[in-house]
Symmetry: C2
Subunit: 423 residues, 2 copies
């Protein structure tokens, strides 16, 4: 980082050749969208070695990794898939240790850390991702966080853990390092690096507005699964693409940003930006803006988080100079079109277990939608009914949040059945 | 500034009420465009006191300041105006000390510093600005630098001075702090704050392209003085407006950035951006971009530089949210339209006294143009001929650069006369 002195100037006094450290990476969720992008990135990156990986069920992905890398540890987090495949895998890859189930994933992380792993990319969804993140925090691993449910579900518990680690100077693992892998949060992270807290007026995340930004509200009850899954700018997994179509994804990101950057909701905002070139902006108190952008591709935040604080050494093939970008425009959010977004912000402001309940209900609702059992416009309706039935509590104990998550999932399933019975 | 730890998160641990220090400001060039904007800004800013000001000839401006502020010291740098007005001023403002001429300006700076002044805004042009900046560096004043000729004319000498101050840990004035007041450089300064040198691929300054960006090259010989002075986005003084029309201003800014940020010319670039909302960008090595922008108004960099490292506490009235901005687009520079820009970059790359010669020849050429004695398209022709006649030397002694400046001014005047004689 530049000091005032050498910024002001002159003479590259810090022109020191830095030794690039090698990264020993634990990749959790290797077969998902973020996991695959990570694997493609490290393909040509000899200084990042995937020493431990997990998949949920995708055994083909495991074989592909082991045929390419000398990965010491592999976890298959679906118990049944693990039981069915572990025998074959062990005989085919005798140098690799295999772990099964969510507990196996935690054992693998601890063992890889004991072997010298320094970085974990958590791209697994749900409770397994939360426990993995907390273990990684306790071990002092650098965390590339691609699992926004961690912060949304268990924000106060993780905040509490980080606070205790920050105040405990005797802790040998040092201050926690969480690098966000959402492109918006990664952009915010980079922009905040040079700013003092009291310079910040607002942090703005951009949203493409999804495939229905130009669709009249009256037509939304009739949109098809294919239309919902046809995102205009980002290529992502199905769950997050559905979330994006209703801007629930952006609402979850606001909650994630609240916990990740310790910013009150009054300082967090969203603008529609249809080409997804600018990912985030910071409005400083004088009314000026700092922005961070790139062509929309997940490799940017993934690579940044893995390499940090070292630079990514080469431009990604998806990069393109600003003179090739389409025009950049920003619009306010038409919130009548995005009731799910409004629910997220309200749950975030309520705090406690409200975001955990909202997130769990949304996961159930999206799965029902993808299975053809719920209309797109009924996703926020189901979420709201689960929130209304739930008691929101303010705690810092992880188990309280995991219980709220579990209970909300059950309520959402029952709620749909009840609605069906009534219908 | 946020640390990794509190960025990663959680809990506003640094939520400390800061005492805002009062600024004692020396304002050099109070009657110019930057000086007037500065005076308007501090009008409602009780924590910035203008303890010393200079004007060149504008005695009315002095009266206006003294009727409003308790300014202890005033310099009128034009000797003749000083002689004509000092008597009246002394009797009307008995509590104020008056100084005359360029030497008087230096005496005033030293006396104000001895009284406790901490900040100087150098918005005077020419050699007086250079000597004032060097004195301010030696005194350890914080410098808000609005005089780009300082860096263009005497870059190597100032670089040498700063280098020696940085390496001399016994120097009681500490590391130099230069805050750029050009909006582009101020934007770069803010963006660099969070970046390590090895993350930077390119620093890009934006240019509006001036009033002739859409004019065919063949029509440029016939443009009028009024057309040249009709800048599409920025309201500035006449000299800089002419410089902007031919993008010589942007070329000078590239040279200034080279010295201010110790960046090689290969890492400095310009893009056309017609609405002047984004002032600068940094391309990081992964191919992503950090940008800084605001509505185009000089109050942003002036206020930032004066308050730094404290925040400007309120949004300027010229600020406007991104959803009110016009579309943002970037284009490559059509360099056949801007021969003056090409000359600047070539002089910068040559180094030594070449930028000093170019800048001096340009000042003469612009004055001749403003007086109707030179066509707009002949400004770069005159500059190039002066450069061709001059011997460029590589030194670090200030006097060498001031001599090169003086000699180039004489050559430019002679060159025009010679061209006239031949014509």
């Amino acid at each position: 980082m530049r000091t005032e002195a050498n910024k002001a100037g002159i003479g590259n006094l810090l022109n020191v050749e830095r030794a690039r450290p090698t990264r020993s990476l634990i990749l959790l969720g290797a077969s998902g969208s973020v996991g695959s992008s990570c694997l493609r990135f490290i393909e040509n990156q000899s200084d990042i070695r995937p020493v431990a990986v997990s998949v949920h069920r995708n055994v083909e992905c495991v074989r592909a990794i082991l045929n390419r890398h000398r990965t010491r540890r592999v976890c298959i987090s679906c118990e049944q898939t693990y039981r069915e495949s572990a025998g074959d895998l062990r005989s085919r890859y005798p140098d690799t240790l295999f772990y099964g189930g969510p507990e196996g994933m935690l054992d693998m992380i601890a063992a890889a850390h004991a072997d010298g792993a320094d970085t974990v990319l958590t791209a697994v969804v749900g409770a397994a991702g939360i426990r993995a993140t907390i273990l990684a925090l306790n071990l002092g691993l650098k965390i590339a966080l691609a699992n926004k449910e961690t912060m949304v579900t268990a924000g106060p518990a993780i905040a509490n853990l980080i606070r205790s680690k920050l105040s405990d100077s005797a802790d040998p693992t040092g201050a926690p390092v969480i690098l966000p892998v959402d492109s918006e949060h990664n952009a915010v992270f980079q922009l905040l690096a040079g700013l003092r807290d009291d310079h910040i007026r607002r942090v703005i995340l951009t949203a493409s507005g999804g495939p229905f930004r130009d669709r009249p509200v009256e037509e939304l009850p009739f949109v098809t699964r294919e239309e919902v899954l046809n995102h205009p700018t980002w290529s992502m997994g199905a769950k997050i693409t559905v979330d994006s179509a209703g801007m629930i994804n952006k609402g979850l990101e606001i909650i994630e940003a609240h916990y990740l950057f310790s910013l009150p909701y009054d300082q967090l905002d969203v603008l529609i930006h249809r080409h997804s070139l600018i990912h985030a902006m910071i409005e400083t108190r004088d009314g000026a803006y700092l922005m961070s952008g790139s062509r929309p591709h997940m490799v940017f935040p993934i690579a940044h988080a893995l390499m940090y604080p070292e630079p990514v050494t080469n431009a990604h093939s998806f990069a393109g100079p600003p003179q090739q970008w389409p025009s950049i425009e920003f619009d306010a959010v038409a919130s009548d079109k995005y009731p799910g977004y409004r629910l997220c912000v309200a749950a975030g402001r309520r705090g406690g277990t409200a975001p955990a309940i909202l997130n769990a209900a949304n996961e159930v609702a999206v799965e029902l939608f993808l299975n053809g059992e719920l209309r797109f416009v009924d996703i926020p309706v189901l979420i709201e009914s689960v929130l209304e039935q739930s008691t929101i509590v303010d705690e810092q104990d992880l188990e309280v949040f995991l219980a709220a998550d579990q209970e909300a999932r059950e309520r959402a399933a029952v709620g749909l059945a009840a609605a069906r019975g009534a219908g």
